[in-house]
Amino acid sequence: MMAAVICLGSLGFVAALLLGMAARRFAVTVDPRQVALMDILAGANCGACGFPGCDAYARALVAGTAKPDLCRPGGAETLKRIATILGVAVTERPPQIAVVRCQGDLQHARLKYAYQGLQDCRAAQKLARGPKLCPAGCLGLGSCVQHCPFDALAIDSRGLAMVNRSRCTGCGLCVTICPRQVLALAPANETIHVLCNNRESSARVKSYCNAGCLGCRLCVRTAPESFVMDSFLAKVRYGYGEPSTMAEAIARCPHHCILNLDEQGNNQTLPTPHSVRERSTP
């Protein structure tokens, strides 16, 4: 009995001693500010800041090698708190949100070929430049959905990517993933967008799709301060809108590719868990 107690007791003591020594010897000192930063960063490790994960960004912030305004998912609130911790002055950056600039579903856009292969847009894009005739249209194979760290993207029933505007943090990861640059970031408070991504002439666009921007300039003529042309593609000048003329421009667009997402309710539906789940090969 006594022997056992002494045995176990001394074992415990030796182990405790070793642990204590190890804790001293291998202690890692972390700047308390880094710990505090880790707490307020979004924690999604989305990589939008350009660092491999939130931890790395926090370290870089403390080291003074990174700008404080890079955490896009965190938005203004995080920026403010980072600034307080680091004791620096910052200017706010307007929050952004991703927009899917394509309405070319199977009813509207023509296919180039019947694709069989990996359910991944970037892989499909390498086969004869993608299964859709339009070189700028959404392929709908969901690479962006698979990579979105915030579950803010889904492939809707039309086979196009859609953004859940309440979840999107504007981290911009999808913009870098999409092989056709269908996704773009736009100011979060803007609801009117041109939902086409094809800069080609009207003849070409017509041969691909009847929901694409033809470059007819009707919107620019109707609301010159709100729209600009980029080659044959109309674009919204965000922040220069005058609602009534813009509404008129929307009404006059022959292919209905200018949309007010607020009114249409498009791209706002909550993605169902089904469509979010990775459906590709394991």
Partner: protein
Amino acid sequence: MEPRTPLLIVSPSPHLHAGLTTRGMMGAVLLALLPAAATSIYLFGLPALRVLLICVVGSVAMEALWQKVADQPITVRDGSAALTGLLVAFNLPASSPWWLSLLGAALAIVVGKQVFGGLGHNPFNPALVARIVLLISFPSAMTHWTAPQPGRFLADAISAATPLSESQSAVMLTGHLPQHIIGFSSRYLLGNMPGCLGEVSALALLLGALFLLWWGVISWHIPISYLGTVTLLSGAFWLIDPSRYPHPAFHLVSGGLMLGACYMATDLVTSPLTSRGMLLFGCGCGLFTVLIRLFGSYPEGVAFSILLMNAVTPLIDRYVVPRPFGMDRSRELA
């Protein structure tokens, strides 16, 4: 807008396929196990048939049920659930009550396979997981052996001990092997001994294994290295003391070794990818089997040793890697 005349299909190269699919492979293994299944029914009669049916049907139903509940695509058509069920049955004694068989099937499918993410993701052989869980939870039911009564399908069961447990208890009690095991006889080869359903007939199992080798479903590496290690090791012990350690041929045909080496250790999912890894895996299985059989408290060590090596498989896959063609030394992988 109407689509153009039928679109051409574009898929990534290659545009040919060898033809052997996952389903085909599972089917081939099922086919290869048929002789052993038939033998077990011949030897143990209707109770064996009952266990086989409950396990196979139970496994398939369990997998379908799980996938239905988990809202996953139902993949029972790939045959893997049926195969798991058959292997579970092969690991049960003929006298197993219905609930034991059903529990085994459920354990294999749920605990062994689906919780890890289904086919291809399970680290351990599902059928062996079921066997071990049952063996530890219900030791008496799992070691209640009946003597084979060839051809007498409706005969009353007679309790008996497996040769392995017989030899173990004899060595423990008397210090040497019983006479009939020293003078090992060929009846074991045909399976005329008490034991689990699938393990008794080494001959039927070998027949199926040869078919699988010929069909290219399994490679020779694991069975040969496994059986070879067992033969060498047990042979060494036998040479040291033939009265205490059984002849290697006895080891080869008794217990679950043949079933384990040809069908359980070769399970694609839980064995290493490379040939060298497979050899290593087989040797490890053989080593543990002999050690457990000769020195462990369980008479049989095949299931444990395969599960142990299953646990090592990721390590083997990480360190035993082929050297890329045209590269000087194996670069640091992983």
